[in-house]
């Protein structure tokens, strides 16, 4: 019998379970071809008898071999040595050669290049409201309401690529009311991942090498998304009236997309003037380009001039409007929205259905009620007055603590653009930021071209007054030491 030929001596002192020892010995025999592939192994009962062990131990040994792929057990016909053994393939390269270098796609390579160049990272710091300043008890109530009703809602819910209809209706009416956006729920798209908005647009509308006009300085995340999808960027300057539209006319070929932040230019804070808005809309209509209006923080204006959106002024249906709840509601909800022109509704429905067909129903339903019951506007009003005070405080603290060359005058947003005077050293500032944990970041990443020295964004919103004052004090002390 096979078992006798194998000379299986169990070593009870080794501490290795008997089943493992048997499995190992059999495995070796199979690899060494002492037992040929396809041969039927002795039954569990025979093995147990021959080795004087319990049947369950023998069975465990066979199970282990089976799990590792050396034997196959078939009902009624016993256990056979596998005809194809693991690791025995002749075409197999040496193990250390396998997947040493991964062949990435063009897209993957572009990401890797930008990462190696230090332009993009996989992680960033959290910038958003303080959890304790959010209406958590309201949100909890809404969760209870919808977690409870969920089984019923769920069983009838058919995921829609554009999102849960009651949420779309609620947000559309909010946008109409607050931002004068021309929107109906069938043109409003809900995104769980905000990043997908520009990615989908870039893929739907841009071929490799197509031109996208962007503000310089402008949002680096947007720029990187266009670049990763193979687009070229045309940098268009900004002044205190926003994007300098005349520079668009100087381009040799017209861009397919124009990405702007007219409500509050990132990072300079400029509000695009009426005149410029008209020029830009005219340009886009004449040159068959789409405008992407990123209305990322328009909720936060402190001097009482809530300007209507650019999209609302556009009579040619050329503007794609982006909005999101991050600044008001992160980390409780981070849903993003996009309002698309009619011709894009169908392609976008198809495209969205492929990458993000459904968003958590509980979150969507809770958010719809949050908006409909007026909590959102109440929250924003509260935040606005709170942040206005913080901004004012920061301004007076700054005047005392630092020697600034320029502070952006626009009374809006969640951060303050500050230029320090030349006599400060960049390296020393970096150190002082690190040691004081002041929420101050260089605007370097906003520039595709040469950055401005000693220009920073100081975030004032998500930090209590005393905390900010303390950090600023520490910062100034570190800087002047």
């Amino acid at each position: 019998m096979l078992i006798d030929r194998l000379d299986l001596a169990l070593d009870p002192t080794s501490g290795v379970p008997a089943s493992r020892q048997i499995a190992e010995a059999l495995k070796e025999a199979i690899i060494e071809k002492l037992v040929s592939p396809g041969v039927i192994l002795p039954s569990v009962r025979d093995i147990a008898k021959a080795l004087d062990i319990s049947r369950s131990t023998a069975a465990r040994a066979i199970d282990e071999l089976s799990a590792q792929g050396y034997v196959v057990t078939e009902m009624g016909s016993g256990t056979r040595v596998c005809p194809h053994l693991p690791g025995q393939s002749e075409e197999l390269p040496p193990r250390d050669k396998v997947h040493k270098t991964v062949h990435l796609s063009q897209f993957g390579n572009r990401l890797k290049e930008r990462f190696d160049a230090g332009v993009i990272t996989a992680k960033t710091a959290y910038v958003g409201p303080l959890l304790r300043e959010l209406p958590l008890s309201t949100w909890r109530e809404l969760l209870v309401r919808h977690c409870h009703a969920a089984s019923k809602e769920e069983s009838q819910y058919v995921p829609e690529p554009f999102g849960y209809q009651p949420l779309r209706e609620a947000y559309a009416s909010y946008l109409t009311r607050a931002r004068a956006v021309k929107v109906s729920q069938d043109r409003l798209v809900t995104f769980a991942s905000r990043n997908l908005r520009l990615d989908l647009l870039a893929r739907l509308l841009l071929n490799d090498g197509d031109l996208v006009a962007m503000e310089e300085p402008g949002f680096s995340a947007a720029r990187e998304q266009f670049l990763a999808n193979g687009a070229q960027i045309a940098q268009i300057g900004v002044d205190n009236q926003g994007l300098i539209v005349e520079q668009l006319h100087e381009l040799k070929t017209a861009p397919r997309l124009i990405y702007v932040t007219p409500s509050h230019q990132a990072p300079t804070g400029a509000v695009m003037s009426m005149n410029r808005r008209k020029q830009l809309l005219e340009y886009a209509a004449k040159n068959q380009a789409y405008i992407i209006e990123d209305d990322y923080d328009s909720e936060f204006r402190y001097d009482g001039r809530p300007l209507p959106s650019l999209q609302g002024m556009d009579n040619n249906d050329r503007t794609i409007y982006l909005s999101c709840l991050w600044n008001a509601m992160a980390p409780v909800s981070r849903i993003g929205f996009m309002v698309v022109p009619d011709p894009l509704v169908e392609p976008l429905t198809a495209a969205k259905g492929l990458v993000e067909r459904d968003v958590s129903l509980v979150e969507q339903a809770a958010l719809a009620d949050f908006i409909n019951e007026g909590h959102l506007e109440k929250l924003i009003r509260k935040q606005r007055s709170r942040y206005a005070v913080r901004r004012q405080n920061l301004l007076s603290l700054l005047a005392k603590a630092l020697d600034t060359a320029y502070i952006a005058p626009e009374s809006a947003g969640l951060g303050l653009l500050v230029r320090l005077n030349n006599h400060y050293e960049a390296a020393k500032i970096e150190q002082a930021i690190a040691s004081s944990q002041l929420p101050m970041t260089s605007t370097r990443s906003y520039y595709a071209g040469a950055a401005r020295d000693l220009e920073f964004i100081l975030s004032f919103a998500a930090l209590e007054e005393s905390d900010l004052a303390q950090r600023l004090e520490l910062f100034a002390a570190a800087l002047n030491s």
Partner: protein, 499 residues
Amino acid sequence: MAIAIYLEYKSNVALYRRLSDALRKAIMEGRLQLGEPMPSIRELSETLKLSRSTILKAYEDLKTQGLVVAHSGSGTFVASTLPGDLGELASAFLSAANRPVSFKPLPLSERGRTIFEVGKRQATEHVHVPALEYGGTPIELSPMRDWKTLMIKHCDVSREEQVAEMIDPLGLEKLREAIAAYVLRRRSISSGPQNVCIFGSKQLRLELIGRLLLNPDDMVAYEEPGYPENRNTLESMGVKITPIAVDTEGLSVAALRRLPKPPKLIYVSPSHQDPLGHVMSMPRRHELLEYAAATGAFIVEDDFDNEFRYGRPILPSIKALDQYDCVIYMASFWKVLYQSLRLSFVVFPDCLVNIGALGKSYLERHLPLLEQLALIDFINDGYLEKHLKQTQRVLAFRRQSLILAITRYLKDMVDPLTDGGGTHLILNFQANLFDSAIEQAAQQSGFNLMSTKPYYASTTKSGQYIVPFASVDQNSIDNVVKTFALALQKQSGRNNDAN
């Protein structure tokens, strides 16, 4: 109520008049809706930095125009009907405002056209039918109560600490640890938390993998039949899908070897082939791994249906056997919490961990915080496995009663039953029965079944149906199948007469 108001500058027009014009415009455009309250005077005076008296005057002006009405004690409202000609004007304005005239639309890009085409097909072809609840666990077994408790527990200020962590695109560290331990326990995968990446959308998993590894026209080997949704996600990137036949041991590696050149990616669902339900045999798993290692291809192991099995031994996942660092493993919690829990995950091979994190932060940077925190407890405190165990028991019972009914009434109409998947059986009707007759009979009798046609990319197969049993009612199923059998006999008799 926040409202965007732009006070147009007109010299020699009084301020209150400019305000009432702006408000009038807002009413006309439907931004202030009929019958709804007007913004409060306090609010307008705060946001616009105008005096109360100016605002009062503007409201008075609107009142004389019949656009607003004041209800004593409850404030000012937009009129519920607008005065005569103004009403028509408003509706004309409204339709024009909401539907701007389109110029010639921008043509889509080349890849945009592919995406559009594939996405449109998916929308028409793979219809989601809630009544079928195919694949999900039955609603009445859903652990919604536990989930609610956990969600509420974490909706709390004391979670402030964790907020900074939520911006990790890979997901919360603690959740990745919980998942790493879970897949080690249940699927023998020993990769560790650093290889785990959490996703908010199931579809983004394959989107990310495809985008990072595939160029247009690259070849992907895909099970035939296979899950259409994932095939579509890949196809929308312009890659070439090569259907590879499936036999009772799973994907045919012999067919892979016959390809003129090896594929870049191989998509398989080895735990329960979707939809046929075959479990990939152990030798086949090794053979596939070695083929992939030898050709430099990556394997995507979609382990979406591993939770429930009936009388068959559990095989370790391909990822657990992978010594060549070439298996990308994906799974989700979709079966457990049908619609509420959207989180799913990928376990990357070591060689893809870094680029995977980079790609993830590009496609989906932020994940929902509360859901992640709740899921950590759901896994670590044993809710998940307790739920799976309970559900498995109920499902086994329902499956059995369905099998009984089928053997009793449909024996002569279908091929012998195979194992099927974790929540469905596959019925192969005999060739003389037409799909139209089968579907009509199903509709008449309330028997839930779904054709496998969308699962086939190149071949067509008729008479093959998925029968989900997760929501089968064991009291009535016998009767339903009996009615179905009778209806089908009648239908096909009619068809044969017609022929």
